[in-house]
């Protein structure tokens, strides 16, 4: 295997400016926002755009076989252990940064429109910029610890933004849930870091990529990888830690688009891509990743089938799509995972923003049963939503097709790459295909229920302002052509090949050839199937879904209730812990521990009182005690 970094040229660059832009933007936006609320959004947008520009600058500055490095300052140095607050910018980072800042800027712009009437919008934009800052730390960090700073930072911003409308305690609770569940993953992440520190004494990516492959036993690598993956399941909403993401829809929709679709939740995928050399050494861990990811993709897709809240559908869709990414990563095709990450960012952001546009239009109505026929009043939104739907459905030539196709083929060939995966690759690809059909189905279902038919709500929908439409259009455009561009023009595989192992780069077929087109259309069959079925059921045979639902009554209930996972966790983890906390307080702490402290005091006091009763005030008694005591002491301590 190619050892990364060893023959890469390290170039000093000032990368710190990239995350600093949104950080400063956050402060300025908040402070200025106190006086000029409207200005806050524009400042934040400008800051993120500026960051985007810096990223673009570095993107072009980055030559092949180069990595840009910015050792800002020594962060922590104890003994021989030293960590710099350092940033690195390689091809992987470049892609991630472009996505983060690019889509981030678009969503900022969108938010200007979306949040135009919110009282606390300076706070919102400050948080949003802060999120960008953290996310940039995450992707730019040159070592695990800086990455971890971003990792936790995005968690915090996610928490703050989910609970943005904190007057609703349920929203605040959703934020807390997100943070806590993320923290569970983070704890595993920490342990993984400790193992790395213990064994290698460094957290630096480049150093690790040099040191690790030679010196690591498979067991250790597996342990670290699994721990890191647990961290990733938290952040990227995989089973078993995916429960927070649907609840996270409590936040404003741009937040869902940016954080819970395009960027933050993909951090886990990025982590795996970044530490590919580690995961490569742990085939067993890869198997675990694949299994979990496949299961997640399937489970989330099934849940999404029956959701009526438009954002919930998209949320479960995100979980499912993240599963796809991890499938790719687990199969060893990191670049495919990144590819899907990017395309997913395009179309899922677009979907979310579209749903936001709809919600905005329907006065914060999120239930699709109260929508319908909206494409007449909101043509732009509808069009972009449909494009993204087709993209996520994986229909050629939309962006989703390419990445999904690569995922499936990577799975099929996974066995060759990783012997542990040998018997599993193909079944996994079947599962993924099935999940893809479901994906196409439920997304189309949501689009159909929202935009087709007749309006079933009571509001007066209208098209959104231009600030919201422009990002929609841009993203839809990316969803439309992004795949072709990345596959062809940029050749993401080749590009990422400068930073991570990508396997054999195929330059063979031209995309323009007829066979390719035919092949591509054929391979789009799951998309067509799902889209077609959904269109049929939700436009032509509207009574059938109800019948199916009734026919599979209990199963539908299970799906509608998300497999009762929340309830399960509540019953086996949260409530027992709460009960234990109360027990420890009342039972252990107050009764036993404090009881024994006070009990000791009481024993002392009571024995004092007992001894005190000898002071009867009676002369005879005193004489008696004196006499007996004297003889006792003389006999037992002196004479005998």
């Amino acid at each position: 295997m190619e050892s990364m970094g060893s023959h890469r040229e390290i170039v000093d660059a000032s990368l710190a400016i990239i995350p600093l832009c949104p950080l400063v933007g956050a402060m300025v936006a908040y402070i200025v926002g106190q006086k000029q609320k409207d200005l806050a959004g524009w400042i934040a947008t400008a800051a993120s755009t500026l960051a985007f520009l810096f990223v673009v600058k570095n993107f072009f500055a980055l030559g092949t076989n180069q990595v840009l490095l910015d050792k800002s300052f020594v962060w922590l140095s104890v003994g021989n252990f030293s960590i710099d607050f350092a940033f690195q910018f390689d091809h992987l980072t470049a892609v991630m940064c472009l996505v983060v800042t690019g889509i981030g800027s678009l969503i900022h712009l969108y938010s200007v429109g979306y949040m135009a009437h919110d009282e606390s919008r300076p706070r919102f934009f400050a948080y949003l910029n802060l999120f960008l800052f953290s996310m940039l730390l995450l992707v730019l960090g040159a070592n695990l610890l800086v990455l971890f700073v971003g990792w936790e930072g995005v968690g915090l911003c996610s928490y703050l933004l989910i609970g943005f409308w904190h007057k609703n305690i349920a929203f605040a609770g959703a934020g807390r849930k997100a943070f806590v569940v993320n923290r569970i993953g983070d704890a595993a992440f920490l342990l993984a870091m400790f193992l790395i520190i213990m064994n290698y004494g460094s957290l630096d990516f480049m150093a690790l990529s040099r040191v690790m492959p030679g010196e690591t036993s498979e067991g250790l690598a597996t342990l670290i990888s699994v721990l890191l993956f647990i961290g990733a399941t938290g952040k990227s909403a995989q089973i078993p830690l995916f429960v927070w993401l649907p609840d996270a829809m409590a936040g404003p929709t741009p937040v869902s688009a940016l954080i819970h679709a395009a960027t933050m939740v993909t951090a886990g995928v990025y982590l795996m891509a970044r530490l590919n050399f580690l995961f490569e050494m742990a085939p067993l861990a890869m198997l675990v990743v694949c299994m979990v990811a496949g299961l997640t993709a399937l489970v989330a897709a099934t849940i999404a089938l029956v959701q009526n809240d438009i954002k919930k559908v998209l949320a479960y869709s995100t979980v499912s799509q993240l599963g796809f990414m991890f499938l790719a990563a687990g199969a060893g095709a990191y670049w495919v995972a990144i590819f899907h990450l990017v395309t997913h960012a395009f179309f899922k952001a677009c979907l979310f923003l579209g749903s936001g546009s709809v919600i905005h239009a329907c006065h914060h109505e999120q239930d699709m049963r109260h929508m319908g026929g909206l494409q007449r009043v909101m043509p732009f939104t509808a069009a972009t939503y449909w494009i993204s739907t087709l993209a996520i459905a994986g229909i050629f030539p939309f962006a989703g097709y390419f990445s999904k196709h690569h995922i499936l083929s990577a799975l099929e060939h996974a066995g060759a790459h990783n012997p542990q995966l040998f018997p599993w690759g193909v079944p996994l690809s079947y599962i993924a295909t099935f999940a893809a059909i479901l994906t196409a189905f439920y997304v189309t279902r949501s689009a159909a229920m929202t935009f087709l038919g007749s309006y079933r709500g009571h509001a007066h929908p209208h098209e959104s302002p231009w600030q919201m439409v422009v990002p929609l259009v841009v993203l839809a455009g990316l969803a439309l052509v992004g795949g072709v561009f990345l596959e062809g023009a940029l050749s993401l595989q080749h590009y990422l090949g400068h930073a991570i192992p990508v396997g054999d780069v195929h330059h063979g077929e031209s995309m323009a050839s007829f066979s390719f087109l035919l092949n591509a259309l054929l391979h789009s069959w799951p998309g067509f199937l799902g889209v077609g079925l959904a269109l049929f059921l939700y436009t032509q045979a509207k009574e059938i879904p109800g019948k199916i639902a009734r026919a599979f009554g209990p199963f539908t209930q299970v799906l509608a209730n998300k497999y009762y996972v929340d309830e399960l966790y509540g019953a086996i983890i949260v409530r027992p812990l709460e009960g234990m906390a109360r027990f420890l307080w009342k039972g252990a702490d107050q009764a036993v521990i404090d009881g024994s402290v006070n009990g000791t005091a009481a024993v002392v006091e009571i024995s004092g009182e007992l001894i005190r009763t000898t002071s009867t005030g009676q002369l005879r008694h005193y004489g008696f005690f004196m006499f007996v005591g004297t003889l006792f002491i003389i006999f037992f301590y002196m004479a005998l």
Binding site: T630, I633, I634, M638
Partner: protein, 492 residues
């Protein structure tokens, strides 16, 4: 043959002055009824005695005796003479104006007895042979019995006199029995001479003799199991007398006990005999004194148990004759005198002037003292913390430092641990007084405790001040006293 030499007389000059004062005041009493006159008259004689006691340091020498080997004229006896006289002086200052309020009517007799008791105490610590020692003890006690009952119309005072008298006589008989056995074994009553005989004797009487003599001291020191008199008597007696008992009498008893135990019974074999007994007595004393004090409401009774407990600490140091125990005792008893006298002084100031009231010195009388009289309360806090051994009561802490340090060095670690645990327990009841003085808000306090305090007279304030200064000074610069104590012990 000259029966009494001038040198002999010089060596008891403090006693002569005190005797002169004791008889003189009875005459003064006939002619004047002024309270202050008698108090200051007494003070003058004590001061004179004190100055001569200091003078005696010039003639003192290790093992030097006077009056046919009846009394020692050594630095040890001078140290205790000074201590006793200073304690007596402070008590007299404390008594001025207060003693009459406490129901003592015959002031002339009272001060005469006071001086005679002091005489007894000095004889007690200076005695070089057992009969003198016993006489000293009896003079001190006899006068003290009467002083306890001097509030003739107070039931408590009479009761305390009764108990003190009977239990005191009872224990004197025990001690006398021990002296008789000592005499029986050694054929001599001299402390120094008997030491040699006793240590070489293998008589079965020796442990019993040692035991009974020890018991006599244990009673006066107020240690378990002969402590029962202390709380009752301390509580019932007029507070001035209580202060005197707690400080001067205890100091004298400790001095005499140390002298006898380390002189007559100082050999290794004899030490082996009494060490285990003193061990158990000290342990029991610390435990009982501290535990029983926990729930006392009467301050005087509480301080009585506290003084029992401190007797226990002091006895711990008895066990370390060669490890600095002697200087520890000397330092501790001086510090103890200062802080206990101070504490009793404050009790005297705060307790109801009508001592016949059942709760005259109840702890609730101290409520909000910190706001009613901050200075007094501050001093009390200092004394209490010092008794508890908590900084800023550094003197008490250093006392414990010396004592337990000596104990640990002498390998009595177990006893030291018992001691410190008890000392920790003791914090509770000392701090409880601080709770009353500071922590009770106005609305929760008993209304009658907010009654204004009687004005504090100048000598009275002086006593409190001197004690406070002593506690602070000895805490910061313990060497002032401890070097002296070390010198005394080296010239023992």
């Amino acid at each position: 043959m000259e029966i009494i030499s001038l040198a002999d007389l010089y060596s008891i000059s403090p006693l002569l002055f005190l005797t002169l004062g004791a008889f003189g005041i009875l005459i003064v009493d006939v002619f004047s009824k002024e309270s202050w006159l008698r108090a200051s008259y007494t003070s003058i004689f004590i001061l004179a005695a004190l100055s001569f006691a200091f003078q005696l340091a010039d003639v003192a020498a290790p093992g030097k005796t006077a009056f046919w080997d009846a009394i020692y004229v050594d630095s040890f006896s001078i140290y205790f003479q000074v201590l006793i006289l200073v304690g007596a002086l402070l008590t007299v200052m404390l008594s001025h104006g207060r003693i009459a309020q406490e129901g003592v009517r015959s002031l002339g007799e009272f001060y005469a007895l006071f001086l005679m008791s002091t005489i007894g105490a000095i004889i007690f610590v200076s005695a070089a042979e057992m009969v003198t020692l016993f006489l000293g003890l009896e003079i001190m006690s006899m006068a003290l019995y009467c002083m306890c009952g001097s509030a003739v119309h107070s039931k408590d005072s009479a009761e305390s006199a009764l108990k003190y008298f009977f239990l005191g006589s009872f224990s004197s008989a025990f001690m006398l029995f021990g002296i008789a056995l000592m005499y029986g074994v050694s054929g001599t009553l001299s402390l120094a001479e008997s030491a040699a005989v006793l240590s070489s004797s293998n008589s079965g009487l020796v442990p019993i003799a040692v035991g009974f003599v020890l018991i006599g001291f244990v009673f006066k020191i107020g240690a378990v199991p002969l402590h029962f008199w202390a709380p009752d008597v301390y509580q019932g007696a007029p507070t001035t007398v209580t202060a005197y008992m707690a400080c001067v009498v205890k100091a004298a008893a400790v001095g005499a006990a140390l002298r006898v135990l380390w002189t007559s019974f100082g050999s290794d074999t004899l030490f082996g005999i009494w060490a285990s007994a003193v061990w158990i007595i000290a342990a029991l004393t610390m435990v009982v004194g501290n535990l029983v004090a926990l729930r006392q409401r009467s301050l005087k009774r509480m301080l009585a148990y506290s003084s029992i407990a401190h007797a226990g600490y002091i006895m711990v140091a008895f066990l370390a004759p060669h490890q600095g125990g002697g200087s520890a005792v000397l330092f501790y008893i001086a510090v103890y005198t200062a802080m206990t006298l101070g504490a009793f002084g404050v009790v005297l100031a705060v307790a109801s002037p009508h001592s016949s009231e059942p709760d005259a010195d109840d702890i609730h009388r101290f409520q909000r003292l910190g706001y009613r009289n901050p200075v007094l309360a501050g001093c009390m806090t200092l004394f209490l913390l010092s008794l508890a051994g908590l900084p800023p009561g550094l003197a008490g802490l250093l006392g414990k430092f010396y004592v337990f340090n000596a104990a640990v060095q002498a390998n009595y670690v177990g006893l030291a641990i018992i001691g410190v645990l008890c000392s920790a327990v003791s914090c509770y009841y000392y701090l409880r007084v601080i709770v009353a003085m500071y922590f009770i808000p106005k609305e929760e306090s008993d209304s009658d405790s907010l009654a204004p305090l009687a004005p504090v007279s100048l000598p009275f304030a002086g006593v409190i001040g001197i004690c406070a200064v002593a506690v602070v000074t000895l805490g910061l610069f313990p060497s002032i006293l401890h070097d002296g104590a070390q010198f005394v012990i080296e010239n023992f």
